[in-house]
Subunit: 245 residues, 4 copies
């Protein structure tokens, strides 16, 4: 039984290792640049072995995406447990988002790469479903916090707008910022561009605009961010510092 477990463990480790390699290749060479021969060469396993883990190229890519999604999902879920008022919890999710992309900068680009090609036709159903579930649950976490805010009276959406507008705006700004960062668009003519800080500041103004209390003028969200980093994500940040500087 011990033997069996070791085998299984090795099998799982190898799978992780292959996914790592695929992720890197996806980043460095794009969807087309990722090919099974190169994966075999990079991992120093044979092609046959690769195919024992993944039914086809698309399934391997789906596995890369799935891991990404699950990592983010876990971060979001933890962020939502942050003790404090609703806007603090949302802020913690913002930290989770920042963390996710700073610790796994690859993943943002991988998402871009992979959302574009028709991977899902060929990937295994199992992985497709898992990805969908993961995506949905991330969004649900944010929706949950916003609803809590409304219920508690912290959030009164301005006339003419809806909660969905708010969610859409948050999401769009986050996605857009990542896209800009990831695609390496040179912020022409910007002095001293620090996209992450820009995003933070814009989020603040945005939430204030939506009347989500307490306003940034009356509450020290910088401290909330700091607390979230220390209390919720200290471990992840430490890990990240180790592997990604």
């Amino acid at each position: 039984m011990a033997t069996l477990n070791r085998r299984q463990r090795e099998f799982a480790q190898r799978e992780e290792f292959i996914i790592d390699a695929a992720g890197k290749m996806l980043l460095e060479r794009g969807y087309i640049g990722l090919n099974m021969d190169r994966i075999a060469e990079a991992t120093e396993y044979s092609k046959g072995t690769i195919y024992q883990h993944f039914t086809c190229k698309e399934d391997l890519i789906a596995a890369v995406i799935l891991r990404t999604i699950q990592v983010r999902g876990a971060l979001f879920a933890r962020a939502a447990t942050f003790p404090g008022r609703s806007r603090e919890r949302l802020t913690a999710i913002g930290v989770a988002d920042e963390l996710f992309y700073s610790v796994y900068p690859d993943h943002a680009r991988i998402e871009q790469v992979t959302k574009v090609e028709s991977i899902w036709d060929k990937a295994s159903d199992e992985r497709r479903n898992a990805c969908h579930t993961g995506d949905t649950s991330c969004m649900a976490v944010v929706q949950g916090v916003a609803r809590d805010a409304v219920a508690s009276g912290d959030l009164v959406v301005p006339q003419g707008c809806t909660l969905d507008d708010l969610l859409f705006g948050l999401w769009a700004m986050s996605v857009g910022a990542r896209t800009i960062i990831v695609q390496g668009v040179p912020l022409n003519g910007f002095e001293n561009p620090d996209p992450q800080m820009m995003l933070h500041r814009n989020f603040q103004l945005f939430l204030d605009g939506y009347n989500w209390k307490p306003f940034s003028t009356e509450w020290d969200y910088a401290r909330t961010i700091e607390r979230a980093r220390q209390e919720v994500f200290a471990n992840d940040i430490r890990k990240a510092g180790g592997s990604h500087a």
Copy 2:
């Protein structure tokens, strides 16, 4: 010389025709689904002829992108000439952006598709530079309006924020919204999602938050939008209505 001119004209027309076909194919079948055989078949020109216009596949794709960029650049430039106060001119650019994506919905997706793959290594320098110039000039138009606003006293950026923050926020929200729309992400749990209207509303709140005057509470931007559509883009909208409903 007349003969030469006619020839040149025909040559240019054919190039345009091929780019059209490539654009469509890129949309319908993705980067991988675009191949030179199909282009030749679709245009009813021979492959040899295609290669007389474009040095390689990537160069053809770059041409598709370039045309996209130039179309948007022209729209933005015209928007910036909108007569009115600075925030009205920015609003007109917003209309240009909306128009661009509603009239050429393809282009948003093409941008996604192509930004991801390493086209620029092989495309001709000429086209690469033209693309860069186009991108930069779009951004410059917006920057110009913002600077005018500051100069005229309409815009006083809040403490702790900069003009760059504002530009980044606008850009991120626009890009993010397009990404979400284009990737067909199902807005799970949203009632009645109309991304374009959501984007409009979020823009309004956002500019108010930045203290860009006159505020939306004191100025009828709905009318500004309507004027921009009628006075600046009437032609484009008419064209769009014809070909895209």
Copy 3:
């Protein structure tokens, strides 16, 4: 020793079981569709175990064929013991042939499939020889009956023909009929085609033509056929009825 015997028995049973599975797969999916992974899966033995019984894929297929041949050989041998005149014994062999293909319809197709591919280069010598022996002995049985007929005066081959001609004709007609049946050739334009009955009638005319006495006009071979079925092959037919209806 008892242990050893049990082991040996189990080993032999497993071999039989694997051959069964291979036979089925050969039928359902053809030569190419048979592969060792699938065999392992179907039998629920590991590939290593399969390879302990068969040196290679071809050897396994040879084993399928060999069993086929041995089954037919046994039927022919029993048929030759049918008590009666020489032509009755030949008729009994005809019944054996009919029975073989009606009870094991699979085997006809397997023969087709396997005769075509170069299995014999790689199959073990042992099995190749056994197959050859089996084939030869079937033919020998028929030859024996024919020679007995000549010796007893029942058969006087017509001028210009030889005993070999007769054997060849019988064999060709049988093989040809099976081929036609097995390949599912649609008997275009035939009313009511019953290949087996057609073969029976043609055999009758054929033997009459060769002057093999007693002629079908003076002897009730329908009854001979019936007797052969009941007295010699009752068991097989019962078995067949059970599993193949």
Copy 4:
């Protein structure tokens, strides 16, 4: 136009050449032994070129079969025009059959090889239909002659048998003989085996048995055969002698 024609001619010639090579390979190495790399190597064309003529491996094989069928169809059709009584015309078809297999001995084996594997799923519809048409027309030719014989009173099928029985018997004996010959089954214990002559003699007895007049005892079919060879197939035989000895 002359240029175009030459190109087309070369294209057609090359196609023929590839089919030749495929036929040989099919013979020498079987269905599995035929592969596109080897075809490319053998023809000294690139794989791409091969694929410009045939959509896939199966389509190439189908082309080999189609040519076979068309050759036989042409021979049968010519044989049916042989001037003489109905049984003479059938005899001429017998000569066509003999000729077909002696001139193109490959084709018999190719038929065996190819009937077994599922080629038709992937081959182009065009070729599949052409094959079916060819097959049907061969059979129709024989049926036509038999019906003429009945109409003219030359053939009165014996009690208990039908015209279909006769056709089936002829067909089976022919197919069976070819199978035996082609599979190289050693005619164990046969003295001096000449399968073609055996087949001839068996056919004679068979037709006599069916009361197809004039009987072989009252008509010199050897001469009919000779006439058919000289008057109908002289050219083919000369060609055959040239290319196949």
